[in-house]
């Protein structure tokens, strides 16, 4: 059952990921990316990480809905009524992407991966919470400060005055 689920979800993640750069409509593109994220969240759930899977799913739904608004704001073709190609250096990009995949795949298949050590804790979420409030406290504090810096930076960037000052 798990194996079937894995193949279905993995195929969904890849196909929807590919569709992101194939579909014409910006709205469709956003929801294809959302579908890819949801498949990945389900895979994380499949590995037994209940909390992180649900968090990923919830965050991506919100993120993609916000993204859809921006997409329609900045795109000339939000409804996808006309075919659209907005790419540069397509062949070069494809070559680099395929080359990267081949190198990564070779590494994945050739490296002698370590064997599994230990068993998952009975409640991985509890273990994660304990780590974040204990040994990984510095990580958590850094993330907090980073998010705060992001808030300041985004407000500064998106005010009317903007990054470039008052003169227009």
């Amino acid at each position: 059952m798990d194996v079937v689920l894995f193949w279905v979800l993995a195929a969904a993640a890849l196909v929807f990921g590919y569709l992101v750069f194939r579909l014409d409509s910006m709205a469709q593109v956003t929801f294809a990316l959302l579908a890819s994220f949801l498949a990945v969240a389900a895979l994380v759930l499949l590995l037994g990480l209940g909390y992180l899977g649900v968090v990923t799913a919830l965050m991506m739904v919100i993120e993609m809905v916000i993204m859809a608004v921006f997409m329609i704001m900045f795109m000339m073709n939000p409804a996808g009524l006309m075919p659209m190609t907005m790419v540069h250096n397509k062949v070069g990009s494809a070559a680099i992407a395929i080359g990267t995949f081949v190198v990564l795949a070779a590494g994945i298949l050739l490296v002698d991966w370590p064997t599994r050590e230990g068993e998952p804790p009975p409640d991985p979420t509890f273990a994660l919470g304990e780590a974040l409030m204990g040994g990984q406290m510095l990580t958590m504090m850094t993330l907090g400060v980073g998010l705060f810096a992001t808030i300041v930076a985004t407000v500064v960037l998106s005010t009317d005055r903007g990054r470039y000052g008052d003169e227009r």
Binding site: V40, L43, V55, M71, M75, M86, I96, A97, E119, T139
Partner: protein, 101 residues
């Protein structure tokens, strides 16, 4: 299901995202490519946690970090797009090549 299969899926997502990030002209589409690359990293981190050291929590903490990075990337990316569009009506990467060497 093995570690290798999960890692191959992660590599596939990363490669598709890389293609998008390199080839798209629209800054917003470029950011979608970056998100897709991070998506692959989530798969890899979860698989490493499960198949290599499930007793530790480092893999889970790594996923928390990646999710935060995704949120930061989205927020700052959109702020930059808004700022440059306000200043110069630019929404294509080709028009924003001031720093090109």
């Amino acid at each position: 299901m093995t570690l290798q299969l999960f890692l191959l899926l992660a590599a596939g997502l990363f490669a598709i995202g890389l293609y998008g990030a390199l080839s798209q002209q629209s800054i917003v589409m470029l950011m979608m490519g970056l998100e897709l690359m991070l998506n692959g990293v989530i798969v890899a981190a979860a698989a490493f946690w499960f198949y290599v050291s499930p007793a530790g929590t480092d893999g889970q903490v790594l996923i928390v970090v990646i999710i935060t990075v995704m949120a930061v990337e989205m927020a700052v990316g959109f702020a930059v797009v808004t700022a440059i569009y306000r200043a110069r009506q630019v929404d294509m990467t080709d028009d924003a090549a001031d720093l090109k060497g």
